[in-house]
Amino acid sequence: MGKSKGISVSPKAIQLRLGIAACLIAGFLTIVGIPGWVSSPSNVSNIVLSPTFWPYTLAALTGLTGFGLLLASRTASPIVDPEMAEVAAAAGWVRLAGLAVIMVLTMFALPRLGMVWTSMIVFAVTAFMFRTRHPIVALICAVVIPLALYAFFAHVAGVAIPQGIFVRLP
């Protein structure tokens, strides 16, 4: 299952890219991230008890792993596994971008429209973006499933589901 979702690049390229990414993450954390976003009291008696010690240790280990990946990439196969190979389709990238936009808009819509109405729209838009072969069923599910989940969480589990500012449900 996982194999078909791989990328059509060689193991060598994967190791190389991951190695570079790990080194960049480690470098960024050491130079910018930890000094800027981890605060430590000035009276820490020993370095190993400092709030920064653990993040620095992990950043160093990430850098080491990155170097390891870079070294491993030198001996990794440059040939693309035919099972991993997939045709990069422009439509796939458009759908990925579309899903990212849906997620961002969901975050904006949840407090304004409420969870039920937002979920209905998200369901319908996502199903049509996935090119469903059952549009009527998709629309029915888009209405019924968010309502059923609202009924369970709001009335059985006692969760205060956001109602939004337009239409409120009982």
């Binding site: 299952m1 996982g2 078909s4 979702k5 791989g6 990328i7 994967i14 890219r17 991951l18 993450i25 954390l29 991230g33 976003w37 981890v38 605060s39 820490v44 008696s45 190993v48 008890l49 709030p51 653990w54 993040p55 992990l58 950043a59 280990l61 792993t65 390891g68 990946l69 491993a72 389709a89 796939g92 759908r95 990925l96 579309g98 899903l99 990212a100 997620m103 969901t106 975050m107 949840l110 969870m115 979920s119 998200v122 369901f123 319908a124 996502t126 199903a127 996935f130 469903t132 072969r133 069923v137 998709a138 599910c141 499933i145 968010p146 989940l149 609202y150 369970f152 969480f153 969760v159």
Partner: protein, 494 residues
Amino acid sequence: MSFVDSLMAGLSVVASFEAFFALFAGICIGVVGGAIPGLSATMAVALTLPFTFSLQPITGILLLLGVYKGGIFGGSIPAILIKTPGTPASSATILDGHPMAERGEAGRALGMALWASCTADVVSNLALILFAGWLASFALNFGPPEFFALILFSLTIIAGVSGDSLLRGALSALLGLLLATVGLDLVYGTNRFTFGDPNMMGGLNFIAVLIGLFAIPEIIAMAWNPTAHLGKARALGHTKVSFADYRRSFKSIIRGSFIGVFLGSIPGIGAAPSAFLSYSEARRKSPNKENFGKGEIEGVAASEAGNNGVAGATLIPLLALGVPGDVITAIIIGAFMIHGLQPGPMMFILNVDIIYGLFIGLIVSSVFLFIVGSVAIKGFRFVADVPKRILMPAVLVLCIYGVFAVNNNIFDVGVMFAMGWVGYGMLRYQIPAAPFLIAFILGPLLEDNFRQSMLMSSSDPAILLRGPITWFFWALTLITIIAIVRNIGKRAGA
């Protein structure tokens, strides 16, 4: 408290219609979830988790355990019928299960899968009952240095054995540990990567991270290729499994069950290696070894026994030590935490009623699994027909509700979406997600025990090697690293 007293205490919490109904419903959900390729037992457990918030602790945990056990068996149904494992652990079942389906013996293969699964499940549950209490009483002697060494060993083995590459596993675990540092510092209470946002001061929500890592990437993968799931299901055929088949495969089933119990009780190994080891041992010992891979029923029995033998055993380190044995038990640990329970040796003293209630529920689960599995085999046609392009939007909506319900916080939904993209990136670059999640859970424990050890010893690192228990775990860690490096060397040389 005597064994009988503990048993009675367990019965008092579990002997209710709700508890057994939750267990039964969990197994049904798990079988269906495991049977749908792409949904997986892990995702089924993760999606069921929010529904346990309003339940009694024992009822909620039994629901999740039911999903877990049902999901592991359910994964074998599509493995046999459409050559697509519902869970990674069912991959070994394909080797002989699908050739049997191709020659019209799918019903027989599925029947054997069910019988072997239920037998292994009983063996695994008995092992849990026998060993968890003993291990917990031993673990009562553990202090912070011992727990630090134990967690470090668990992380080493989890990073080393999940996935094709030790380095990618290590990277995954390190990223999980880094993410776990977000929030207020455990000792000084200062901010770490919180960016002044109060939502991040308690750390990132565990359920948002896990659902983001395990459910959302499947939805994103469907956006990338909406037709990747389409396959052709085989008919069940008219032949059924017989008692003679079961008797002939019995040795392999018992051997596979013990392999599952042994590997399952070691944190991080999981069901897939156990299924393959059980299968290869059965092939090595069988008089019909030349039929393996061509549709040998003993092969199906062995792989399913190895696969299901793990299910109870992974709960041994969870209940006795508080260390999750695999990803699913890492999710189940979340259910314990939500209900204010901390798995580990103290739970055998403070919550013995819940522990024994779980044991009783697990024994009953094997019977339920047999009943539900028998029906599911016949009903797979309907499960396979569920349109994935409607199912995935439903999963997305369920994720939104479920993650919000944990803390009534929309910020958590954003965390889930962000982690979904991280998980999808990891999927595409073949970085295993299991070490990330388990490291995210164990990270605070690892750091906390390390710093407590340092406080106890006035920062003398020698405390980390203070006695036989720490030596034992350090030695295991070293042996694991050597074994993994040697394995890599062998693969590179081949």
